[in-house]
C-alpha cells in the first residue's frame, strides 16, 4: 500500500464523522441567500455562482483546523513525520483525505442547490466540474494554513485570515466559469481554470513539522 493511500485510509473513519455538519453548513448558508435577497429567479440565477462558491470556500475553511489538529493532539502526527516515507507524500495523502470528505461531497451537493437557484443544466454541469477542479486547490492551500496555525491560540480565526486571501483566485475562476456559462459565454471560461491548480502541490510540503 502506498504511503498516500495508507495516510488517507488510516484517517478515513476519523474524518467522516463530523463531515455531515460541515455540509449542512454549506446547504444552510446557500439557502439563506434567497431569504435575504428575495425570490426573483433572474437575480438568483445571476448570484448563484458567487453564492455557491463563497459558501463552498467557507465550508472548506470550517474543516481545515482539524486537518492536522487531531493527529497533533494524539501523537499520530509525530509518527507520520517519523515514518520512513517522504513527508511530501504523507502530506499529499492528508490533503487527498481532506478533499475526499470535504470537497468531493460539496461538488455532489452543489448541483442540487443550484437547482434552487434556477440554474440551467449546462450551468449545473459546469458548476459541478468547477467545484471538483477547484476544491483540491482549496484543500492544498488550506493544508499550508492548517500546518502554520497548528496548536496556536485562536488558530481557527487566524487560519481564515491566512487562507481566505489565497483562495481568491480559485473563487474568481470557479465562480467565473459558472458565471460565463450562465451569461452564455460558454466554455471559454472553463479553460482558464487550469493554470492555478498545480500550485498547492508546489507549495504543500510545509505541512509536516509538529511544533516542538
Amino acid at each position: 500500500m502506498s504511503p498516500q493511500s495508507s495516510a488517507a485510509t488510516s484517517n478515513w473513519p476519523c474524518d467522516v464523522r463530523p463531515t455531515s455538519s460541515r455540509h449542512c453548513f454549506f446547504v444552510i448558508v446557500v439557502s439563506l441567500f434567497p431569504l435575504g435577497i428575495g425570490p426573483e429567479p433572474d437575480l438568483l440565477r445571476k448570484l448563484a455562482p458567487g453564492v455557491l462558491w463563497v459558501a463552498a470556500l467557507l465550508a472548506t475553511m470550517l474543516s481545515l483546523p482539524r486537518m492536522f489538529a487531531d493527529d497533533h493532539r494524539d501523537g499520530t502526527l509525530e509518527q507520520l513525520a517519523l515514518a520512513p516515507h517522504p513527508l511530501g507524500l504523507v502530506v499529499t495523502g492528508k490533503v487527498i483525505a481532506h478533499w475526499l470528505v470535504s470537497g468531493l461531497p460539496l461538488a455532489l451537493i452543489a448541483p442540487v442547490l443550484g437547482i434552487q437557484f434556477d440554474l440551467s443544466a449546462d450551468a449545473l454541469i459546469v458548476l459541478t466540474g468547477a467545484i471538483l477542479l477547484g476544491t483540491p486547490a482549496l484543500s492544498g492551500i488550506g493544508a499550508i494554513g492548517a500546518a502554520l496555525t497548528l496548536g496556536l491560540r485562536g488558530g481557527g480565526v487566524l487560519l481564515s485570515l491566512l487562507v481566505l486571501p489565497l483562495y481568491i483566485p480559485v473563487l474568481i475562476f470557479g465562480a467565473g466559469a459558472v458565471d460565463a456559462t450562465v451569461s452564455g459565454l460558454g466554455e471559454r471560461a472553463t479553460c482558464h481554470c487550469s493554470p492555478h491548480l498545480p500550485l498547492p502541490h508546489l507549495a504543500s510540503p510545509p505541512g509536516h513539522r509538529p511544533p516542538p
Binding site: 495508507s6 494524539d74 501523537g75 509525530e78 520512513p84 516542538p212
Partner: protein
Amino acid sequence: MLEADNLECVRGERRLFAGLGFKLEAGELLYLQGKNGAGKTSLLRMLIGLLPPEAGEIRWKGQTIKSDDFRADLCYLGHLNAIKEELTPLENLLAAARLADEELSEDDALDALEQVGLAGREDLACKYLSQGQKRRVALARLVKEKRPLWVLDEPFVALDTAAVDWLAGIISGHLQRGGMAVMTTHQLVTIPAGTVRELRL
C-alpha cells in the same frame, strides 16, 4: 551505533543543557534521568530528528539522522499514545505497522494484543478503553518490533506492576537481539539484560 556530539538545547530563554554527548552501541540501553523540565523529552525529540539542536550533531551509523534510512531504523514511542480513538486496538496496530512499512499479519497483531492483556478487546473502539489499556495498545507495537533503535518516552507510566515487568522483559529481549534503546523514566525499573548506561540531565 548512535552518537551524539556536543548537543545544546535552548527552550525559550533557558539553556537546558550544552556540550552533551554520548555513544550507544548494539545491545545497550541509555537511561535518561533528570527532574521535570531538565530537557529529557527535548533530548529525545532531538534524537529522533523532530527538534533541531541549537548546536551539535547526532549520527546514526556514522551518518546524519536527516537521512530516510534513519527513520526506517527508528521506533519512537512518545508520551502521547498515537492511537486513534475511533479505531479498534487491532486496527490501530495494523495501521501503525503499515505506516512504518512493516509486515504485520493479523495473527501477529492479535498475539501482541493478547500479550499486553487486551485479549477480547480487539474489536472495541479505543475510546472505550481505560488510560492504562490505551497505553498498552501503544506498547503492543513493541512486541513484534524488529527495528534496531527504540526511543521511548516514559514507557512505564500508567502501567501496573505486572505490565511493568512484562515491558522490562520486552526491552531486554530487544537488547539481547542486539537492539538499542533510549528511554526516560521516573520509576526505578531493572532491565534484566543488556548494558545499561545512565545519563543525568
